[in-house]
Structure formats: C-alpha cells, structure tokens
Amino acid sequence: MNNKMVFGQYVEGNSWIHRLDASTKIIVLFFMMISLFIVSNLYFLLGILCFIWLIVLTTKLPLNQFLKSFRAMATLLCFTLIFQILFNTTGEIIHIGKFTFSFTFDLTILSLIIGIITLLLYIILGKWIHKYRFITFIILVLLIFYLQTIIHITPIIVTYNISFHMNAFYSASRVFLRILSLLSLSALLTFTTKPIDLNNGIETIFHPLKFLRKYVSIFGMMMSIALRFIPTLFNESQKILKAQASRGADFQEGSIKQKIGQIISLLIPMFVISYKRAEDLANAMEARGYIPGDERTKLHITKFRITDICSYIFLVLFFTFVILSKVLWGL
C-alpha cells in the first residue's frame, strides 16, 4: 500500500506562493474573490483572470493537474452558459457582417420521431459509452436541432425562435470569467497550502476575535485531529475491504441491495474501531494536559516575510482600485 498518500490537493513545492503564510493567502484570496463580484467590466475581469493565471505559472504547479481541478465544475459551467444564452433576450442580436445569430426551428412530427429514437438509442447505448456520455448527449441534442433546420416536412408542431443577443453574450462571459477566476483562486490556495496549514491559517485569522477564540480553538483542534486521522482511518478501511474481499465480498459488482450490505459491512467495523480510537485519543490528550477551549501557545506561528507584506500592500492597492473604478467609472 502506498503509505505516502496525500489527502487534499496539496502539491509539494517551494515557490513564493508555497512559502506565503497561510493566513495571508486566505485573506488575499478572500478579497480577490469579493472583488470578482464587484467588477463587472469584461476586460477588467479578463485582466484579473490572466493575472491569476500568471501567478499560477510562477508556482510551477503541474498545469494538467491544475486544469483537472476544473473538471468537476465544467458541467455546471456549461449549463449556466447555455441558460444564459437561451433565456437572456435583451440587447441587440449578435451579427457578424450580414449573418445574424437568429434561427427559427420547426419541430415536425418526423424530427420528433427521430429525436425520440435517438434518445432511446442513447439510453440503451449509454451503458457502453461511459466516458464521453455528457459530450455524446450534447452532440445528439445539437444534431437534432440541426436536422430540424434542414428538414422541412409538415405537419409542424411548434415553431421555435432562437436568437443570440449581445447581453446574453456579455453576461455569459461574465459568469464564465468569474467562475473560472474563482476556481483558479481556490485551486491556487489548496494546491500550495497543506491542509494543516490552512487550518492554522484560519485559526490565526480568527484569533483576534476574543469572543470567538474558544470555539475557534476547539474547532481548529477538531480539524487538525481529523486531518491527522483521515489517512489512518483510510488505511484501516482498505484493510477491512481486503479482509472482506478475501472472504468473498465483491465491492465492484452486485445489486443495490448487495451494495448496501457491503457498505454496512465496512461501516460497522469502521465505527467500532473509530470509537475505540477516539477513546484512546481522548485519554492521551487529557493525560497530556489538553483542556478544550483553554488558551494554548503554538508551535506554528505566523511568519511574516517580505512577500507577505508585499502581498498585503498589493491587496490594498488592488482592492482600492476595484472600489474606485466601480464608484468613479462604474466598471
């Protein structure tokens, strides 16, 4: 088994972003994210995105891994774009030269039948095309629409009128740029910061808030213990899975009912073991003088370097500029 398993997205590195203090990173990113929603000018947004990516390049992170982190959000992004384009009908219609982006579709009996057949085919064949399901789906939908524009056979059931408006384009681009920037920022944070440092950073940020300090310290301890024990529990669950597998349990196949049974056969021993661990851990912590919520000193403290100070200066300048541009020029 791979013992060096890393949880979270942290990628080992030594760039200046890696070395920034976690609390600096969190605060700067937080205000950058806020400014993304203050700015509405397309070019400004594009500028910010380019700037973020420039910073990403300086960290020497493996880019494919960085891009992979967007994959989960790709579907959501596509849907937002499609909805924006279909339902935002203000502003002038987009045109390039004489060609205007406005189409009329007739839904005819024939195309409806073709559509239904393709859908059925998709459902049946979908079992075999695991990987590109979503793309296949989009292509099929587009094909059906295309069919309708070239085949004109009566009787017509409905006539659609789809046109692409300038405002739809703008707002779609805005959403696109914002989401992409947000994802890049959060990826930048999680790729360059160890989970435990993130935890410490959050604790540092909330530390000045006296009335919250007790809860923050308890929460911080909970998080750090979770981070400490997730790999241990993960290894343990692998062991149990292997033990169950060696007794003939098959976790890949089986009906839903069997799967639930298998999951329970994993969860119950895990629960019992975790409970035993928790009891031991509580004893060990108490014996070493831990009192929940009590003030503690810290081994890891904020190490302010010159880059941290520069980052804060940049943040102040950047944020002032964003606010000013909003107030003065409405960007």
Binding site: L227, R228, R277, T297, H300
Partner: protein
C-alpha cells in the same frame, strides 16, 4: 510518606464489579516498578487512576505528598506522564514535531522554549531526523518513541508505560526498551508489561489479580511464589525451568539471549 502512596483505593466501572479492589501501594522516587497481571486484572485501571483520567471511588492517593483530587489534578499531571499501548491512537500531532509540541502547547510553553525542548528530546529518542514526518510514515516503534519524547518534554517525575511495547514488532520493542533503559536513571518508572525479560530487570515486581495486589517484591522474591503466580494465571513455571536449563546448558545455541527471551514470552502468554 513515599513518593507515590495509595491507601485502600477502590474503583469500579459498573455497579457489580470492582476493577480495583483495595489497593495499597507505595513507590519510592527513582524506583523502576513492573506490574504484571493477566488481561482484565486491573493494571490499566490503576494507571488511569494515577494520571487522573478516572477518579477513585474510595481511598486516598498521594503523589509527592499532594493528595490527588479535582483541585490538585492539574498540578499532579505535571509530575506524572503516561505512554499508552496503541502507537497510533496517542499520536495527536500531524507531524512528529507537532506531536512532541502538543503537551507543551497545552502547558503554554513559549515557542522558543518549545523548539529547544523538541530538539532536545527528539534526539534523546533518536527521532531528530524525523521531525517533519507524518505518523503514516513511521513504524510502531518510532511512533512510541515520539510518544515518549512528548512525555519527556513535559519533564514529569514519574512515567507510566501501559504495555507500551505490546503492539510492536521485535525491533520496535528493542528500540523502545533501549529508550526506557536510558531514562531509568532520571525518572521513576512504572512499567505495565507483558515482556518478562523487562520484568526481570525491574527493581520491583507487582503482580495483580482481580483488582488486588497479590505479590510485591524483587523479581527473585516474586518468581519464587509459584502458587500465587499460577493462581494469578501467570503460568510461567515450566518455562522458567526450561529457561534455567538453556542458560546453564553447554549446548551450542547461537542466540542464547533470544531463545531465553522467546521462552519468557511464551511462558507469559501460555
């Protein structure tokens, strides 16, 4: 009064059964005491009472002249540290240095002092090159050594080892035993152990059975009481004879010490 003094201490988890059934015990400063007893004889309960994890139902406990109760518990915890059995479940920090720091952080030791102590005690258990490792990257023996460093850094006067080597492989046992041997001169040590070759080297052995102390004396004295040992389900006599034979044999056995240790182990677990 001796350094650690228990007078008529009773404890029970459930209504019907006393896990500690009238313990009278005094331990002097600097002694190395081993506690033997079959599973469920109340050894861990005794350890937990001493470090204040559970509270006695009856009797008096004095450590360094101070009676152990709710008010003095924080004070007494500074004098007494404990290393538990499971290496994984007592590793609190995300890395070795975090774990050694844990107790110091609780005690509000300043950061500079902490770093000094971490360096000092990680070297003492030969873990100074592992400070940034996660527990996942350490062997059981290494984790136990880190736990010992964490306890030592808090500078207690007594350290209790509750079967601290029983989950380790032979190499781990050896490493941890070396560390214990090393700190013996400076600390009072109470070892709850299954390792008879360790028990042999104790100043004093206490045998527990059903929540009571049934034997208390030097190893020679204790191992003479064969009947009590059998009653306490520490059935080690046959093997002890065998061990004597191995020791005095003129046979050509390469690793006499290892054979002897193995026999001790076997004797204990029988």
């Amino acid at each position: 009064m001796s350094f650690i003094e228990l007078q008529d201490v009773y404890f029970r988890y459930t209504k019907d059964d006393y896990a500690l059934n009238g313990i009278n015990l005094s331990i002097n400063r600097g002694e190395h005491v081993c506690i033997l007893g079959h599973n469920g004889s109340g050894k861990s309960t005794l350890a937990k009472i001493l470090v204040g994890l559970i509270e006695k139902k009856k009797g008096h406990i004095y450590i360094d002249g101070i009676e152990l109760d709710e008010k003095t518990i924080d004070n007494i915890r500074q004098k007494i540290g404990i290393v538990f059995q499971n290496p994984d479940n007592q590793f609190v920090g995300v890395t070795v240095e975090d774990d050694i720091a844990f107790g110091l952080e609780n005690r509000k030791v300043s950061r500079d002092e902490m770093i000094k102590l971490i360096n000092q005690f990680s070297s003492k258990v030969s873990m100074q090159d592992f400070l940034n490792r996660n527990p996942e990257e350490l062997s059981g023996g290494e984790k136990q050594r880190v736990a010992i460093a964490g306890v030592l850094a808090m500078n207690p006067e007594v350290i209790i080892f509750d079967e601290a080597t029983s989950m380790l492989d032979p190499k781990g046992v050896k490493e941890v035993m070396e560390v214990i041997e090393n700190i013996k001169k400076e600390k009072t040590i109470i070892s709850i152990t299954h390792n008879l070759s360790e028990a042999k080297h104790c100043d004093r052995i206490i045998v527990m059975n059903q929540g009571k102390i049934v034997l208390d004396g030097t190893p020679e004295e204790v191992f003479k009481n064969t009947n009590v040992l059998i009653e306490s389900r520490l059935d080690i006599l046959d093997s002890m004879k065998l061990i004597d034979k191995v020791k005095n044999s003129t046979l050509n056995i390469n690793k006499k010490q290892e054979v002897e240790d193995a026999l001790w182990q076997y004797a204990y677990h029988k």
